[in-house]
Symmetry: C2
Subunit: 214 residues, 2 copies
Amino acid sequence: MALQALVFDAYGTLFDVHAVIRRCEEFWPGKGLQLSQAWRAKQLEYTWQRSLMRRYVPFSQVTREALAYACESLQLGLGRGKADALMGEYLKLALYPDVAGTLEKLKSRLAILSNGSPDMLGPLVQNSGLKVDAVLSVDELKIFKPAPQVYQLAVDRLGVAKEHIGFVSSNCWDALGARSFGFTVYWINRGGAPVDRLGFQPDKIATSLHEVLL
Amino acid sequence: MALQALVFDAYGTLFDVHAVIRRCEEFWPGKGLQLSQAWRAKQLEYTWQRSLMRRYVPFSQVTREALAYACESLQLGLGRGKADALMGEYLKLALYPDVAGTLEKLKSRLAILSNGSPDMLGPLVQNSGLKVDAVLSVDELKIFKPAPQVYQLAVDRLGVAKEHIGFVSSNCWDALGARSFGFTVYWINRGGAPVDRLGFQPDKIATSLHEVLL
């Protein structure tokens, strides 16, 4: 396969969001998993709903608002201190163990394409030490994934035709959005989930980055 | 308030979807609630994701695909017979007890504005005996709520300016999408949920149709 560039989703694909779950559990013992799941679900809903409403705000704001909703729905008290601490976790997430070793061996151009706004994504990539050719945020487009113009951003910035771009995501709907756009896609199915029914199939399904790319 | 028309969401607002839960429970004892929640969540996700991907398919197909996903995720066997039976429930949902009595008393023009495709919505309204001036489906626009053009459809079809339209939904994000568009909105909070954080507030929050409209 003549792929000239590989484009990676960030959260859940390269970066392990489990540190957020641990911190939730510290603050609200016994509720950490439930809260973090509710938070993540609402965060994604808001990205889709705001995109359709044409009421984009940066992912940092969406994430903070989703946290407030999730805490209220579970009747967990959230002050400014806890909110700041949880948002702070997003800036220093660990890479999955298979990431650094895999990316080093790749010869193609590498990019990150994320919903994350620059105020979240910039510090995160900086802290991780990861070396990529481009860090692309939907923020300049004011719309979230899986809108096709998001994937087009990678084409424009990398200067590589979509037929020669491979896209890697652990979010099936993101992978299928990229497939619908025209990328070759790898779905990293870390959680053993079914394939989403969105009219497309991933080109390859794997359980780790290592398995897909080497 | 000089509202000349009231526009209602269908599923969960006028029509009680609990019959679907009961049927799920019949097929998979002990799993009915969990399945119906997973089904509904995925159904909505697919409407948002497909809208953003520009890959619209009718709500009947979205609903069937979400059911297949939800059953696979819970490892519940779903054959054609069960799928057809569950989809069939959607065509004969009961009205909430407060609907018929409330709507009869209203002097303004009444419409339904739904994600439901005509193959679902037509039989449902027919079976219910409900009398409204217009039954509007997003299907002709090929995009789902909360895209603003969906709410514009009601303006166009009713010939009433948006400032004079009241919109009623039990889905908070739908109510806020309508509020963002410019309708006066009533959120029927049947489940005691928090207000979604989408940059808008409902004009009124109530627990039943009766409470809002009289």
